[in-house]
């Protein structure tokens, strides 16, 4: 059943191929707003590049979270899933996996290009990609809690950032400072180790919390 769910969700994502690019496009547009809004000065941009790229990635993930359960809720399939004879937790994990594949992974792959555009110094590229690879699953996992809590609400769109962004802050701090460390030529394994530990923590907490949240949202 889990395999069937995985297959179905990937098929749906693939059907809406155009949508697949949206988080990516959003990411690119948002980061390219900064040279316009702040200053085109390459030196200044190089300094803020790491932070800007990471904030952009975070917002792009956030926006795409809406899709995680919403459609399934509206057409009744979420109800059907909760009634299946299997732990809801596992279903959540499949959903998170699909979300990460569709909305998280592509960000990590496109990020170097944006780094190039914003003039990120050379040492930053490697930690940028590695931190994105490590941290985007955390964003999907924590995000699933928010998505689960808000799925029944018609006005979920703006509520979710409020619930989830504070929890994203450690990720943001460690990821962006790992890039800074890379730029300054110092070691960034410590930061990445932290991200790994946080990933392990959320991998334990998030599916349970999301499963509970979904139950509550559907009982409403």
């Amino acid at each position: 059943m889990l395999m069937a769910l995985l297959k179905r969700d990937l098929l749906l994502a693939f059907r809406a191929r155009g949508d697949l690019l949206n988080p990516l496009m959003f990411f690119m547009i948002v980061t390219s707003l900064f040279p316009l809004a702040v200053s085109p000065d390459p030196k200044l941009l190089g300094v803020i590049a790491a932070g800007v790229i990471w904030v952009g990635a975070l917002l792009a993930t956030l926006l795409s979270l809406d899709l995680m359960f919403k459609n399934d809720y509206e057409d009744g399939s979420l109800e059907q899933m909760l009634l299946m004879p299997q732990p809801v937790m596992l279903m959540v994990l499949v959903k998170v996996l699909v979300h990460w594949l569709v909305a998280g992974l592509p960000l990590a792959l496109i990020a170097p290009l944006l780094g190039l555009m914003l003039g990120l110094p050379n040492g930053g590229f490697q930690p940028l990609v590695i931190s994105l690879l490590l941290a985007t699953p955390i964003l999907s996992l924590l995000g699933s809690i928010g998505a689960g809590l808000t799925v029944g609400l018609r006005k979920g769109g703006m509520l979710m950032p409020l619930l989830i962004l504070p929890l994203y802050i450690p990720v943001l701090i460690f990821a962006s400072s790992s890039v800074l460390a890379g730029v300054q030529g110092s070691s960034y394994t410590g930061h990445l180790a932290f991200l790994g530990a946080y990933l392990a923590l959320t991998l334990v907490i998030a599916p349970v919390a999301t499963a509970g949240a979904l139950r509550i949202s559907l009982a409403r």
């Binding site: 395999m3 057409d75 559907l218």
Partner: protein, 226 residues
Amino acid sequence: MSLDTFNKECDTPNQAIDGAWLSARGLFCERDERILFSNLNFDFFPGDIVRIAGPNGAGKSSLMRILLGLSAGFDGALFWHGQDMNKSLYDFRSQLLYLGHQVGVKGGLTPEENLAWFNPKASQTQIFTALKKVGLAGFEDLLTHGLSAGQQRRVALARLFLCDKPLWILDEPFTAIDKEGVAELEQVVINHAQNGGLVILTTHHELNVPVKTVMLGTQESEMPLC
């Protein structure tokens, strides 16, 4: 059986009758400070067709969601095969087919893909046969959201032909289905019961089927129109 049979003081207040599949003891549900039902007792047996009846707002859907374990706002005990529902939840769910107001059909998938996901084990021929039975032959490859209201529900109803779950819980399955469709669906329901299944349904249609009725909200909550 009528209302009284179900609602009267129960002989075995804290356990189910032997052989009953789904039983309730002392169910109580309140919404917005209006009591929808109280002290509801029933035992459903294999072969039963049970209709939950009552006017709009009587609490039919609420009762179904309580039976399913989707709603927490109630008091009382539920039993599945004589065991406490909370303990036999896995077994209950693996025997259940539920169709609610929203039927869980994905607009972005074709009817065929929709069925394949509900029944991963079904072969393509089985799926095609089921779709043909609900009159969707020729529509297998269109995306479901391009179909009409009734056709979309038919996709969900095709699950009735595919699966071997003994317990069916159907909340207004005839919505948006045309007249012949309704007549034929009734036949499907009868067949299922005769083969030893249990069907619990609500509908505002006239039914040409012998059913047990659980009547809700006949007293205070009746709501005549005009």
